[in-house]
């Protein structure tokens, strides 16, 4: 589903985020990307969504070399991905419902169908009763769950999560991991970056550990 082949990423200014990284993730697999901050976890996820492009090597998603995609093809790649951002990237000019609706609007979904899907996604993350609220009124954990709802409303085959439990206390973090587990069970491919040991301890999930841009 996802494969990295000798990927090298250097940022302007000379900082080398990833060095010669190669790995593969099968369909339906759940994988953690771990390492200290600055180890290249975020860069790795950004390369999959073509938010950044590799300097050398290839990133394949669904057999497509995303590093070589033209600008016009990017939207269609990203529609197949659900991305959960570290900083949530919620829009505070609209309510919870409309935040989750946005991906469906972008894909041009039918009005009634999208209403059902939005409520299903909100129900999944336990925010159904907050649909009229402004995201700014939500707690950190709720904002994270809203971000998850927005990422899954499109029913993507691949979910990318960048530090989804970063600023949450242990109870919230467990809640979020439980949600991810339920997606894993229905066959979604998940790639979750985290440095949260409490999350990692009690799960027997495959790990990719990065250290200063090198895969251990």
């Amino acid at each position: 589903m996802i494969s990295f082949n000798q990927v090298h990423k250097r940022y302007p200014g000379g900082y080398e985020a990833l060095k010669n990284v190669s790995f593969g993730i099968a369909e339906g697999e759940m994988v953690f990307v771990t390492g200290h901050s600055g180890a290249g976890k975020s860069t790795l996820l950004k390369l999959i969504a073509a938010i950044e492009r590799p300097n050398s090597g290839s990133v394949l998603v669904n057999g497509q070399n995303v590093g070589a995609l033209k600008g016009g093809a990017l939207p269609y790649l990203r529609r197949n991905l659900g991305i959960i951002f570290q900083d949530h990237k919620l829009l505070f000019d609209r309510n919870v419902f409309d935040n989750v609706l946005l991906p469906l609007q972008i894909c041009g979904f039918d009005h009634r169908e999208s209403g059902k899907r939005v409520r299903a996604a909100l129900d999944k993350v336990g925010l159904l009763r907050r649909e009229k609220a402004n995201p700014i009124a939500l707690s950190g954990g709720e904002q994270q769950r809203l971000c998850i709802a927005r990422a899954i409303v499109n029913r993507p085959a691949i979910l990318l999560a960048d530090e989804p439990t970063g600023n949450l206390d242990a109870a919230y973090a467990q809640e979020i991991m439980a949600i991810f587990n339920s997606f894993h069970q229905v066959g979604v491919t998940l790639l979750i970056s985290t440095h949260d040991e409490s999350v990692l301890q009690n799960s027997a999930v495959r790990r990719l550990t990065l250290k200063e841009g090198v895969l251990q």
């Binding site: 938010i51 990017l74 939207p75 269609y76 990203r78 990237k89 829009l91 041009g108 990422a151 499109n154």
Partner: protein, 302 residues
């Protein structure tokens, strides 16, 4: 089809909501565009009206021949024959001096004054209707008629119409220049409005790009906004022009009555009104398009 329609009408509703989210700012923009467009549109309307006058007069040119005071009935008869046989003359009318005086009395209400005159100051006159021809042919005919015996003066009544026509050409050029400049102003206003909108919606645009929005999807509301603002500005311009003409017509009515004339200013024709609206929509859209092309590419998510 219905899905596309629902999509576009959804965008349109969002655009309208955004436009009237800040009522005053939105209204001021529309007012600026309306005033900018109403100047050339208003001048154009005045020119069209003047053009109407020119057409009215230059289509039916007349040459007035005033005879010498001492011309006798025989002279008049002879002149009548000469004129009737002239190849460039379509018809003639004779106005005897007594008749002319009577007309003057009736049409000006100066009968007391005229009654006090010792003798009739008006000469006999012919009104010559020439056969259709250019301005030059008319002028030649006038010269020829002026040289006929017993003719004191030959006046081409439509001469002023030709002068006005030349003046109108000048006016039209001025309107064209003004319209071009103000069109640029309209594009600039829209460009800037859209630039500010893009800046304030930077976050939304970034997020939309991250979750798979095409450039078309992101561009669409801005283009609709530009076109919609143009349309409302055009409607505002139309209202300004129409209201101004109504006001002017009120005053003009009193003025025209003094000159015993029925002259009124006609408003913009339906065709011209439609052109005005389409043009302003196009300019708004163009300004938005330029702005979006310039600013949207600068926003890339990281």
């Amino acid at each position: 089809m219905t899905r596309a329609f629902a999509l576009h009408s959804g965008v349109l509703r969002a655009v309208l909501r955004r436009m009237f989210a800040s009522k005053l700012a939105g209204f001021l923009n529309i007012l600026v565009i309306g005033i900018a467009l109403s100047l050339p549109a208003g001048l154009y309307t005045l020119l069209q009206n003047a053009q109407g006058l020119v057409v009215q007069f230059s289509d039916t040119p007349q040459i007035s021949l005033f005879l010498n005071m001492e011309a006798k009935t025989e002279d008049v008869d002879q002149l009548r024959k000469q004129l009737a046989q002239h190849p460039a003359v379509a018809g003639i009318e004779f106005i005897a001096r007594a008749q002319a005086l009577e007309q003057l009395k009736q049409s000006t209400g100066l009968s007391d004054l005229i009654g006090g005159l010792e003798q009739n100051p008006l000469p006999d006159a012919f009104i010559v209707h020439p056969k259709p021809g250019g301005a030059q042919a008319l002028d030649m005919l006038r010269g020829e008629l002026a040289k006929l015996p017993k003719v004191k003066e030959a006046q081409l009544d439509s001469a002023w119409a030709y002068k006005l026509e030349a003046l109108l050409k000048f006016g039209r050029l001025a309107v064209l220049i003004l319209a071009s400049l103000l069109s640029l102003a309209l594009i600039a206003v829209t460009f800037n409005t859209i630039r500010l909108q893009i800046l304030t919606q930077r976050e939304e645009i970034e997020v939309a790009k991250l979750i798979g929005a095409t450039d078309g999807f992101i561009r669409r509301p801005f283009l609709y906004f530009g076109a919609m603002q143009g349309l409302l500005g055009g409607i505002m311009a139309w209202l300004i022009v129409t209201a101004s003409l109504l006001l002017l017509n009120g005053q003009l009515g009193a003025l025209a009555q003094l000159y015993a004339s029925q002259f009124v200013l006609h408003p913009l024709s339906p065709g011209d009104s439609l052109s005005l609206l389409l043009f302003s929509v196009y300019l708004g859209w163009l300004g938005a398009w330029l702005s979006v092309a310039r600013h949207l590419s600068q926003i890339e998510p990281h």
